[in-house]
Symmetry: C2
Subunit: 447 residues, 2 copies
């Protein structure tokens, strides 16, 4: 019943706002996406379990079996609502050109070519191609359980359509030089052309964003939750640009970003409803890759990939903090998710045994230093002063080190709150540092 | 070793022809596609079997288990070689515009906008989006074994990006009126605008092509084989247009068709190598949908969907011929593939028992008529003159009715030969009838 009401509401928004702004239709399609995902998830769960896509929830009594890879539903629904939203994004151009569907003269085409923003359309289509490739490769990963070293590079392969269209269509490969560097090396050039290296940089962003979301996982709701928080931060940043009367390229970039992020929030919120504590479904790698790629695409095509990385600070921190265990400097158990205690329902830090297998000698003083800084929890034998074990080096465990054992949902929400605060700070920081480094900030001074 | 040689050859073609014609690079990427699929298939087979994607070959002694859905490898490889071929398709435009990658001035963009064919690019991207959606939905079908009535409409959903971009980008919805109809209804209009109905028509083409390939199946190599023959017929038709010095829209349509078909032939030939008798892999629904959609896309975007249907005559015949069984007028056993006889390795007609379950009364005289016309094989009780059973109504069984029992490979190749002859006749017919019906034919007289 509520679904029908929401759908009617969504259609009303789309129809009402179609001449006013494409943002209106994005909101409408976002609501449709929410309803569709919310209706589909309970219907497909059993089919997923039947073909072997299920997992055990380790942090519940009895370790219940629930469907895995359900995030692919969100991702697929997202794609199809984006397909349907294409005409509404270009509605004002369609109206100008004698109202799409009524153009029957070939000779008109030459004038239309200038009116209709075909380059915008191909930009948008390449973004969708990239996201669809991500879903396809993510599904392959979920199905075939690819090896870590293979799956790490999957997003770069999925990003190929994006990079190729970027090459064919824009080929802007210069980056601004910070003012102090300009003075340092005594150049008057304000930008430097990175050429092919810029494509490597973009591919790296496309690899980093999806994988970093995939790594910060293990607690009910965290994968979707962090994606929603990221979406909100991107949205706030976009709205900031659009309402401050910025014009030109920056405005178009952030409008584009908003049109992609708003429907993403719709399908993600519905997934969160089912994946939050106590989880009824798991999201799977497909969703993590897809979510990360949405932000990578927005950052790359919107030319604000550096800001994008700034918004990923918690994920970057988690990655660097995890690095000693990932690269084998500190012993790494197979699972690092926090330990569930059945008697009090609280999550405790999971720990790596440092007696059976010693950490590399170089890490010994570093671990002790981190311990002093309260960035890790160590058990040290008071007699021999040897380290017995350490809390696993993930942001999730660190939260427990800082705030003590807590229930899984509280743990998830604390991380999301921290992430949101950092994100808002990053927005402020970005415009402050932008002004300092480049002598101007494109929010207030347009180049 | 041969693979490396072929790869070098392909790269040489791509590099050599990059300034001359995009067709050269299409041939090069086609060779790369062949090599990639040929190398990948034996490597992934076991993984497919492990996750339950396998089938029993009913027409071999012992019914060996072989991997299923392997056609998805061809489809995915096709997509990625198409991504890489984008820059080569637009190479001449990239060179004109100061050599893509070196454009660092925003002010240049306004002049580029007119030079670079963005509408061609978005056309191409929408074709790839449609094909990728087809693969995604086809994979869902292969994994979840969707119900027949659901999967029948899947291609229409996958075609949405194509139709939407068609709406936004072209919106040509008129069709030519045959000359005799013009005279009949006394109009001087040469075309009629179908409006929204044209989109229904395009959706129907998108539903028909994939499903018709999926239905004409059951013999080793037939799904890929018929797709290859279709590809060859399309290619011959395209080459005919391009070499006869046709210009304007018709030339562009057939160049576009060729650029999509040639790489398709590469990935399909490699699949055929593994799927032909005795099959080492099965292709799965994904490939059938994908192959059919390639032709639907080419027909729709190239504005020759009526010619496309003409090339699908064997499939159309098979569909109409099957209809009485599909729609329940004649009893339909679960499988209709011909019966394998282990002692002589020949394939015999499979038969529907008409005693246990009677055909609808209206079909009785029709079946007898078809029997007289040698379009079906009936066993009739000579005493009571009742029909005991009939050969199943598929083109495959009909071939056996006509030419007697034969080995599976010979059966497949006879059907392909028949299809090829019909296709070549269709090309002749199309240009003959085109001239008669419309007063001109776009091969010789350009509108």
């Amino acid at each position: 019943m509520l679904s029908y009401f929401l759908l009617l509401f969504a259609i009303a928004i789309i129809v009402y706002f179609k001449d006013v702004s494409p943002i209106g239709s994005a909101v409408g399609f976002s609501v449709i996406g929410y309803v569709a995902v919310d209706v589909l998830i309970p219907q497909v769960g059993d089919s997923f379990i039947k073909i072997g896509l299920f997992g055990k929830d380790m942090s519940k009594p009895g370790r219940p079996v629930i469907p895995e890879t359900i995030g692919s539903v969100s991702a697929t629904v997202y794609l199809f609502i984006m397909f349907f939203s294409i005409p509404f994004m270009f509605y004002k151009y369609l109206v100008i050109t004698s109202g799409g569907g009524n153009r029957d003269l070939v000779s008109q085409e030459s004038t239309e070519e200038q009116l209709f923003p075909h380059s915008k359309l191909s930009e948008f289509l390449s973004a969708l191609l990239c996201l669809e490739s991500t879903i396809l490769l993510g599904a392959a990963d979920d199905l075939f359980d690819l090896r870590w070293r293979h799956k790490f590079f999957l997003p770069a392969i999925a990003a190929i359509p994006l990079l190729v269209v970027y090459y064919v269509d824009f080929s802007v490969t210069h980056v601004l030089i910070p003012k102090f560097v300009q003075e340092l090396i005594g150049t008057s050039k304000t930008s430097i052309d990175l050429g092919a290296f810029y494509y490597c940089y973009m591919a790296s962003v496309a690899i980093f964003c999806p994988n970093s979301i995939n790594i910060l996982a293990g607690v009910n709701g965290l994968e979707v939750g962090q994606s929603i928080v990221l979406g909100l931060i991107f949205m706030i940043n976009d709205v900031l640009y659009l309402t401050m009367g910025v014009n030109g390229h920056a405005r178009e970039s952030h409008l584009f970003s908003l049109l992609l992020i708003v429907p993403f929030l719709g399908v993600s919120l519905a997934l969160f409803k089912w994946n939050r504590w106590p989880a009824k479904v798991f999201v799977g790698d497909t969703y993590c890759y897809f979510a990360g790629m949405v932000f990578a695409v927005v950052g790359i095509l919107g030319h604000f990939s550096k800001t994008t990385l700034l918004f990923f600070l918690p994920q970057i921190f988690n990655f660097i903090y995890s690095a000693p265990q990932i690269f084998g400097l500190v012993p790494c158990p197979r699972h690092r998710l926090p330990k569930f205690n059945e008697s009090d329902w609280l999550m405790y830090t999971s720990r790596a045994d440092l007696i059976k297998e010693k950490p590399k000698p170089v890490m010994q003083p570093i671990l002790r230093l981190l311990h002093k800084l309260r960035l890790i929890d160590l058990n040290i034998d008071p007699k021999t002063n040897t380290i017995l074990d350490c809390s696993n080096m993930t942001l999730i465990n660190l939260m427990i080190v800082w705030f003590g054992p807590m229930r899984e949902d509280k743990l998830c929400y604390s991380i999301l709150a921290l992430q949101f605060i950092i994100g808002i700070s990053a927005i402020c920081l970005r415009h402050l540092i932008g002004s300092l480094l480049f002598g101007n900030d494109n929010l207030w001074n347009i180049v």
